[in-house]
């Protein structure tokens, strides 16, 4: 599966994303200005502003020139202006990006590591009670949508037990600093991270378990056993390490899921990240921000996928020989 995706593939994906972002607002019925700049722009509309907005995306020109204008503004790093926030889209997004990165990064690392570890244990003792319990439990957990898991955690720990904060990423106006601030951040991110980790744990687990079962049957495991290696060495160094590779391949695809999962979970916890931003933008029909978030998420997923594709043959030399 990996190693075969070429630059062309990513080129096509990239073009599709740009084209969607370009054509969607322009195909909408009604004034394209609203669809491109959002409802809020209309409120502030003056003839001078209107002329400026039309000129900016060359809206009085043929479609082809509009597209060129769109691409060239994008490549200058200009993602547009949000009339809702009265700030550039890039700035608005960068303001909430760190929170999302924090939550997504932590969850992705936790889910992957925990998934691999549980997968190794489960595959090693396949058919045992532990294995069956883990398999059934995690497969069930996999069915719970991330936002429902978030809501359940919020109700149990936030509302019923009252041990976790109900919303936000920081206690407002607390003026905390140093260690107290770190603890406050950790406390606020605990539930969102728990929800995301639980929702994505099963992916890595199932894949590791399946690979583990296959790897355990391969001849080199027999050799390793015959050499008299300890159980621990067999399990982690020989079988485990080989079972981790497919998980890496999937990280790119999972990143996409965890990021979109974060969109939903942030909404549940009113966590001030990109997801919350996107949700507010959806409510306010602040199209520039919606487009900006879409572009950023889609492109970062493509970049990670591409990086994994490049990295994979280095980690598993068999892939490059096979080509």
């Amino acid at each position: 599966m990996t190693g075969k995706r070429s630059l062309t593939t990513y080129g096509i994906a990239f073009l599709f994303i740009l084209a969607l972002n370009f054509f969607l607002p322009r195909m909408m019925p009604g004034d394209p200005l609203t669809a491109i700049y959002g409802d809020e722009a209309l409120v502030a509309m003056t003839p001078a502003l209107k002329a400026h907005l039309v000129a900016r995306f060359a809206l009085d020109q043929p479609l082809w020139q509009q597209f060129t204008a769109y691409i060239s503004t994008l490549f200058r790093g200009d993602m547009g202006w949000s009339y809702f926030y009265n700030a550039s889209v890039l700035k608005v997004i960068l303001g909430s990006l760190p929170w999302t990165l924090l939550v997504v990064g932590t969850s992705l690392v936790l889910a992957t590591l925990l998934g691999i570890e549980l997968g190794i244990e489960s595959g090693w003792r396949r058919g045992s009670r532990t294995d069956r319990a883990l398999l059934t439990g995690l497969m069930s957990l996999n069915g719970f949508p991330d936002f429902f898991l978030g809501l359940v955690l919020l109700i149990v720990f936030g509302v019923l037990l009252g041990v976790a904060p109900l919303s936000g990423a920081l206690t407002p106006y607390s003026g905390l600093s140093g260690l107290a601030l770190v603890l406050d951040v950790l406390k606020h991110m605990a539930l969102p991270v728990a929800a995301l980790t639980a929702a994505y744990l099963a992916g890595g687990y199932l894949l590791t378990r399946n690979t583990m079962i296959t790897v355990l049957k391969s001849p080199f495991m027999l050799t390793a056993r015959a050499k008299g290696l300890s159980q621990k060495t067999l399990k982690y160094r020989h079988a485990g390490r080989n079972s981790m590779l497919p998980v890496l391949t999937m990280t790119g695809i999972w990143l996409g899921r965890v990021v979109t999962g974060a969109l939903f979970v942030e909404l549940v916890f009113a966590y001030p990240g990109v997801g919350q931003l996107a949700y507010q933008a959806l409510l306010a029909r602040d199209y520039p921000v919606i487009q900006g978030v879409f572009l950023m998420v889609a492109i970062s997923v493509l970049i990670v996928n591409f990086a994994v594709d490049l990295l994979y043959p280095k980690l598993d030399p068999r892939v490059s020989y096979a080509r």
Partner: protein, 281 residues
């Protein structure tokens, strides 16, 4: 490939559990008018009632019967899920088999497109599109199907390529069978288990995305949906209404997806016999 799919699912405990859950959800959806006397969209002056004999799960913020919404919500989820699954599968077979049989430049172009779509995060695309056009049921199914067929096409193409070299297909070709006849009579029927796994995968994702869109409030506002129920109920999470409003909707959605996961896991062991046997669930 001579492993019975039926037997495999029957032998697996989780596979059985999954089937039972799915049959239950389908039955609830089909029998909805008999199981509840209320119209799920009928509003009334009695809002936010706790559960009682007349309203099993109480009423929501505009006085709609929650039990009735739960039943009709199953219809929405199943329609979106199976609609997308079937449509996606048809497109997947069409492109996968044709790419394998025609080959050449056509094959290359189709596979490039397939690869490109596999790396694009689907939910994000759907959210963007839904932000502009609030899709109704039919448009949503169409949109999801257009974004779902690529996985199936890739697997089907690979399988069709290996089937193509088999004896009986060569024999059929020498008897003068057309490409279409070959595809329809000899290749598609042998794709059984793979198609099932891909089908369930698409169904599951579609059910999830429909609920997710409704949860974000960008679904069809006219549609009764578990996602919409959770969206509305979330605003009242400070009251105790979540017990009979939010939780049932969330559990129904989760159970449906869990049921699908269990069945597809059992079906997967047909595809990869190495995973079979033992006391594995």
């Amino acid at each position: 490939m001579h492993v019975s799919l039926k037997k495999e699912i029957k032998q697996s405990h989780t596979g059985q559990a999954g089937l039972i859950i799915l049959v239950l959800v389908i039955a609830l959806a089909a029998l909805a008018p008999f199981l509840s006397q209320y119209d799920p969209v009928q509003q009334s002056a009695t809002s936010l009632l706790p559960p009682s004999i007349s309203h099993w799960l109480g009423t929501n913020q505009v006085g709609q019967d929650i039990w009735s919404q739960l039943l009709y919500g199953a219809r929405t989820s199943l329609m979106v899920g199976f609609g997308v699954g079937v449509l996606g599968l048809i497109l997947g077979i069409l492109f996968g088999v044709s790419a394998a049989l025609i080959g050449g430049l056509y094959d290359k172009i189709v596979m490039r497109i397939v690869d490109a779509f596999i790396v694009i995060p689907m939910i994000v695309v759907v959210i963007l599109v839904a932000a502009y056009i609030r899709p109704d049921l039919a448009v949503l199914i169409l949109l999801l199907a257009l974004l779902s067929w690529q996985g199936a096409a890739r697997v089907i193409r690979a399988q069709a390529l290996s089937l193509k070299e088999m004896g009986h297909i060569n024999a059929s070709r020498t008897f003068g069978a057309s490409r279409f006849y070959l595809a329809w009579r000899h290749i598609v029927p042998d794709l059984g288990p793979i198609l099932l796994v891909e089908f369930i995968y698409d169904v599951r994702r579609a059910v999830f995305i429909e609920a997710g869109l409704a949860f974000l409030g960008i679904g069809d506002p006219m549609l009764v949906s578990w996602g919409t129920m959770m969206h509305d109920a979330m605003k009242f999470s400070y009251l105790n209404v979540w017990q009979w409003w939010l939780v049932p909707a969330g559990v129904a959605l989760s159970l449906t997806i869990v049921g699908l996961t269990f069945v597809s896991h059992a079906a997967e062991s047909v595809l990869d016999p190495r995973l079979r046997g033992g006391a594995v669930a």
